[in-house]
């Protein structure tokens, strides 16, 4: 956490706003945040190539708007917000392309998971992905952030703009639904 804080301190923000140092500083940012952001996106969109594109778009957007980042919020929160927006936009586009109703679940995203060369999970992990993808998008995001990343609710609240109480409730419901999926499947 302390290493994340350095990206929001005044010196680092000043480096990001200096034409001579901003590229180097931003490369440090990408080096640090590419992994957590990648996994956040990947768990939502499943496909590696799509994740790679969305991750690049996330950093590109951050770079284009680096001038507006003044260090008032944490850099990580700002980047996560961009990544979340990119991800949700992508899923909405894919739904339209696959003719899935707007309120339909995202099960179509895991249809080809078994054949994916970048998925080496076992049967149980595949079933978990199927279970997770029956959840509504926001609930799925909450579950992924909490279960896989163990992100604090306070940070999730800042990223998703939802109260901590609502997030806890959402996570609780997600757990119930996943457990229900497994018991129905058995």
């Amino acid at each position: 956490m302390a290493s994340e804080d350095k990206f929001s301190d005044e010196d680092f923000v000043a480096r990001l706003h200096n034409a001579d140092t901003c590229r180097e500083a931003f490369t440090e940012v990408m080096r640090h945040f590419s992994r957590p952001l990648y996994w956040q996106i990947r768990r939502m969109v499943i496909d590696h190539d799509a994740t790679n594109d969305l991750l690049q778009n996330t950093f590109m957007k951050a770079w284009d708007n680096i001038d507006h980042f003044r260090g008032d919020a944490k850099l990580s929160t700002w980047l996560y917000k961009i990544a979340v927006n990119e991800t949700l936009t992508y899923i909405a586009r894919e739904k339209a392309r696959n003719q899935v109703p707007i309120d339909g679940d995202d099960a179509f995203l895991v249809n080809n998971l078994e054949a994916d060369r970048y998925f080496d999970g076992d049967e149980l992990q595949l079933r978990l992905q199927r279970a997770i993808n029956t959840l509504p998008e926001r609930q799925r995001m909450v579950f992924n952030m909490r279960y896989f990343d163990e992100m604090p609710y306070e940070q999730m609240s800042e990223i998703l703009g939802t109260s901590v109480g609502a997030l806890k409730s959402s996570y609780h419901h997600a757990l119930k639904k996943i457990e229900q999926f497994f018991s129905d499947d058995d």
């Binding site: 706003h17 200096n18 034409a19 901003c22 590229r23 931003f26 490369t27 990408m30 080096r31 590419s34 992994r35 990648y38 996994w39 990947r42 768990r43 499943i46 590696h48 991750l55 690049q56 950093f59 590109m60 770079w63 284009d64 680096i66 001038d67 970048y118 998925f119 080496d120 999970g121 076992d122 149980l124 992990q125 595949l126 978990l128 992905q129 279960y147 896989f148 757990l175 996943i178 457990e179 497994f182 018991s183």
Partner: protein, 145 residues
């Protein structure tokens, strides 16, 4: 049942089963950094002294305004009544003067009640009347009528 269900997640653990191409994260940042366009940065304007002190000045002005408003409203509610004029107060010692003042309309019965309930005014009357009577000559009136 609950235990059994929870066991499923604990059996799976935190590994979702996804993988990435070899060395993907090692080169990602450097590769993307090469593709970044020239940055568009606006020079940061230095913060002037006025911009620094402005919030404090505004806050002080607000308090001064509130204080002035309180003084104004307080002034409306507490007008000095004529009854506290020492000469009139002295006249209150004499019932005939009170009746005269009542008749003239200089004071009302409400003023008399207020005056009687005001310890400060009573004390003032004591001082004035005492002074007036000790210096009065025979035939003088305490209050001109």
């Amino acid at each position: 049942m609950k235990k059994e269900k929870t066991d499923i997640l604990s059996k799976i653990g935190k590994d979702a089963g996804f993988s990435v191409p070899d060395g993907y994260f090692d080169t990602f940042a450097e590769d993307l950094a090469k593709k970044l366009p020239e940055p568009v940065l606006t020079p940061v304007q230095p913060v002037t002294r006025w911009q620094r002190v402005r919030p404090f000045v505004y806050m002080a002005a607000m308090f001064v305004g509130i204080w002035l408003m309180m003084k104004i409203f307080d002034g409306f509610g507490r007008q000095e009544p004529g009854i506290y004029n020492p000469e009139i107060l002295a006249g209150f010692e004499n019932d005939a003067n009170i009746e005269y003042l009542l008749m003239r309309g200089d004071i009302s019965e409400y003023d008399i009640l207020t005056y009687e309930n005001d310890d400060t005014a009573m004390a003032a009357v004591g001082e004035v009347t005492e002074a007036a009577f000790t210096t009065a000559e025979p035939g003088d009136t305490i209050m001109e009528q």
